[in-house]
């Protein structure tokens, strides 16, 4: 883990820019080989998310849950935990949000707020068990969170079918009172489904920054993540940190699910498979070097690629999947620290020599 923290520390901007360019080059080569026109493809890709206010709105909407799941994964990483379970926590977040929205009549604003908070708490709860198992039984969080993903999936389908839907394959729409769309925003962005989730995502990023670097809890998380032995010797409770960090991570993913439910989808269907936001969150977190700002930037990049990729497919006939290849290549280039060897040369000259 230290490695990419370190990798991102040394000249992160240069590395990011070079990696993005190289990644796009890989994509272009792939397109040329298959006989597509990369110039047209990329211009479609990068033009759409920015030109029309509707598309800007939708791009932002695409970005906001990515920020949240990205932060979720990042915060766990900081404590040395690999939360593959953001996917399941996301599902539980949206499930509980819709339950509150449909089954708990509350006045506007309060309704949305309660649905969101309970969705976040549900995500935290879903992450609590893997945290507890890790802390008390040493069960590897990778296995337990994978299992929890599937449990969330089936639970959601069961409840939608048996309790939340009215004979159809999806729940009714949530009432207006639980929606987190905001007329002003919707208006500005030409009826796109942009919603307050983006602000929540940014708030969470701020919160994460504050918590990690400005509070004693964050101090513990980071210490435990970097060296659990020393943390224990210093009297910190490694178990508590593991459980707490998993729960905060889960609550972020749960909030992602809740805000998507209350803002974007506004209803829940029977799931046919994972929608992948949790897994995408892993990539976003890693590309963002597990820092809040890095996660935001990575989510923006990923969101633009994802949303613009749709138009690219439409206008240049290039299969959308090339976007995944581009993104994978970017991650690989960043992880392998392509610019590192240049930087390394300069660094060697400046190596700290304290004594002497």
């Amino acid at each position: 883990m230290n490695l990419f923290v370190r990798a991102n520390r040394q000249s992160p901007l240069l590395l990011a820019v070079v990696s993005v360019l190289l990644g796009m080059l890989v994509g272009a080569v792939l397109m040329v080989l298959a006989g597509y026109d990369p110039v047209r493809a990329y211009s479609a890709l990068f033009r759409t998310p920015f030109t029309q206010s509707f598309d800007i709105g939708e791009t932002i909407r695409t970005i906001s849950p990515l920020i949240m799941t990205g932060l979720a994964v990042a915060i766990a990483f900081r404590t040395g935990l690999f939360n593959i379970g953001a996917e399941g926590q996301y599902i539980i977040g949206q499930l509980v949000a819709i339950i509150v929205a449909l089954k708990l009549p509350l006045p506007p604003v309060l309704h949305a707020l309660v649905a969101m908070i309970l969705g976040g708490l549900a995500g935290a709860l879903w992450a609590f068990l893997p945290g507890l198992l890790k802390a008390t039984r040493g069960v590897h969080e990778v296995i337990s969170t994978i299992m929890m993903n599937f449990l969330a999936f089936y639970l959601s389908n069961f409840l939608v079918r048996s309790w939340l839907s009215s004979g159809a394959d999806s729940t009714p729409m949530i009432p207006e009172s639980a929606s987190i769309r905001w007329d002003v925003l919707t208006g500005v962005f030409a009826n796109s489904r942009i919603h307050l989730g983006i602000f929540i995502a940014l708030l969470l990023a701020l919160f994460m920054h504050w918590m990690l670097w400005r509070t004693t809890v964050g101090f513990e998380f980071r210490a435990v993540g970097l060296n659990p032995h020393a943390s224990q010797y210093a009297g910190m409770s490694v178990r508590r940190s593991i459980i707490l960090s998993m729960m905060i991570s889960g609550s972020f993913a749960g909030l992602a699910g809740a805000t998507e439910m209350l803002g974007t989808d506004e209803y829940l269907t029977i799931l046919t498979f994972f929608n992948g936001l949790g897994f995408d969150g892993i990539a976003v977190a890693l590309l963002g070097g597990n820092t809040p700002l890095g996660v935001i930037l990575a989510a923006v990049l990923f969101g633009i690629l994802t949303y613009g990729g749709g138009t690219m497919q439409f206008e240049a006939n290039v299969p959308f999947e090339v976007i995944r290849v581009v993104f994978a290549a970017i991650i690989l280039f960043v992880a392998a620290n392509v610019t590192g060897w240049i930087v390394e040369r300069f660094r060697r000259e400046r190596r700290v020599k304290a004594d002497a």
């Binding site: 509707f54 079918r161 159809a168 394959d169 999806s170 029977i270 046919t272 498979f273 949303y307």
Partner: protein
């Protein structure tokens, strides 16, 4: 080259030709199921009526709205959302783009259909009933099976109709029902099929998307003339030509074709639910059925079909209705 190049008309086609757009659900256009069938209908529109057609695939559920909006802003005359998953987004988008016409397949929007939307549904239970009749009459062991994908009210319609058909044709036969809780996991489909056959079942009907592939892969390896599969949505006999009794066909292509044609002729049935059953040729039996199903059985099936069309038999579509059936 990709599928889209042939359709010409790269840019928005609001001028001369009548234009139609189709948004797939996450299954994609070549799902060997309703998206693909719908696209067949679109292609026929292009060929026979010169309609400018185009499709957009959705990567995840959140893509439906942007994809539909995309076509609407392009000024396409009618825009289809294929699959029940569109049931909540179609009304939203339809409201936003009041001038465009929309169609949705597989959902009646809970009865609240906006004036610029047509909702097409199918009486899958009716088609499944006939599959049940075939299965009930063809089984030698008096045991038949049903494999469902993810439990949902829609898939339940298939199951219930099938069970009713079996019951009507062969009251002694037992129906074993299992759900894979997946539409993708072939291994589960294969396990289920294997175990059903091993437990004495000799005919299995599925409504399980990709999981159904497991059924065909399994039946193919078994003794010919003894073990049978029944396909769904489109004629699936090519998957196991010697082992497929029949397929319950959902004529999404017919629906898309007919409704679009109506729209072109300014007879768009906006605000209405178009429910297509046996009577409307919206669901039916695959033509290849005669290959393995003997004449007398086919005659029986035809009899039931006529009774359903005439309304003499009302095929149940839920567990409750099944209880009171006959």
């Amino acid at each position: 080259g990709s599928g889209q190049q042939e359709q010409g008309g790269q840019q928005g086609a609001d001028q001369e030709a009548f234009s139609a757009g189709m948004v797939t659900d996450t299954g994609g256009v070549n799902d060997e199921s309703f998206n693909q069938t719908a696209w067949e209908g679109m292609k026929r529109l292009q060929k026979e009526l010169g309609v400018n057609v185009k499709y957009l695939e959705s990567k995840r559920d959140a893509d439906y709205v942007p994809n539909l909006s995309h076509f609407a802003r392009e000024g396409r005359d009618i825009i289809w959302g294929i699959g029940f998953k569109f049931e909540n987004v179609i009304p939203q988008v339809a409201k936003q783009f009041g001038d465009a016409k929309f169609g949705i397949v597989d959902s009646n929007l809970g009865g609240n259909i906006p004036p610029n939307v047509v909702a097409v549904t199918f009486k899958e239970h009716e088609g499944s009933f006939l599959m049940g009749v075939i299965a009930g009459l063809m089984t030698k062991t008096d045991k038949v099976g049903f494999i469902g994908g993810i439990s949902s009210p829609l898939i339940k319609k298939f199951e219930v109709g099938f069970r009713a058909g079996v019951q009507a044709a062969n009251p002694d036969a037992e129906v074993k029902v299992a759900y894979a809780e997946s539409f993708d996991d072939v291994a589960k489909g294969r396990s289920l099929a294997q175990n059903m056959y091993n437990s004495g079942v000799d005919v299995i009907y599925h409504a399980a998307g990709g999981v159904g592939k497991g059924l065909f892969n399994e039946v193919k390896t078994r003794e010919k003339g003894k073990y049978w599969a029944i396909g769904v949505d489109m004629d699936q006999s090519s998957l196991a030509p010697d082992h497929t009794l029949s397929s319950m066909i959902k004529r999404v292509d017919v629906a898309v074709f007919e409704v679009t044609k109506q729209a072109k002729e300014n007879q768009f049935p906006g605000g209405k639910e178009v429910e297509l059953g046996l009577k409307d040729n919206g669901v039916g039996i695959a033509e290849t059925t005669s290959k393995h199903v003997p004449e007398d059985v086919l005659k029986k099936v035809e009899e039931f079909k006529q009774k359903i069309i005439k309304g003499e038999i009302k095929v149940p579509s839920t567990e409750e209705e099944l209880k009171s059936f006959k």
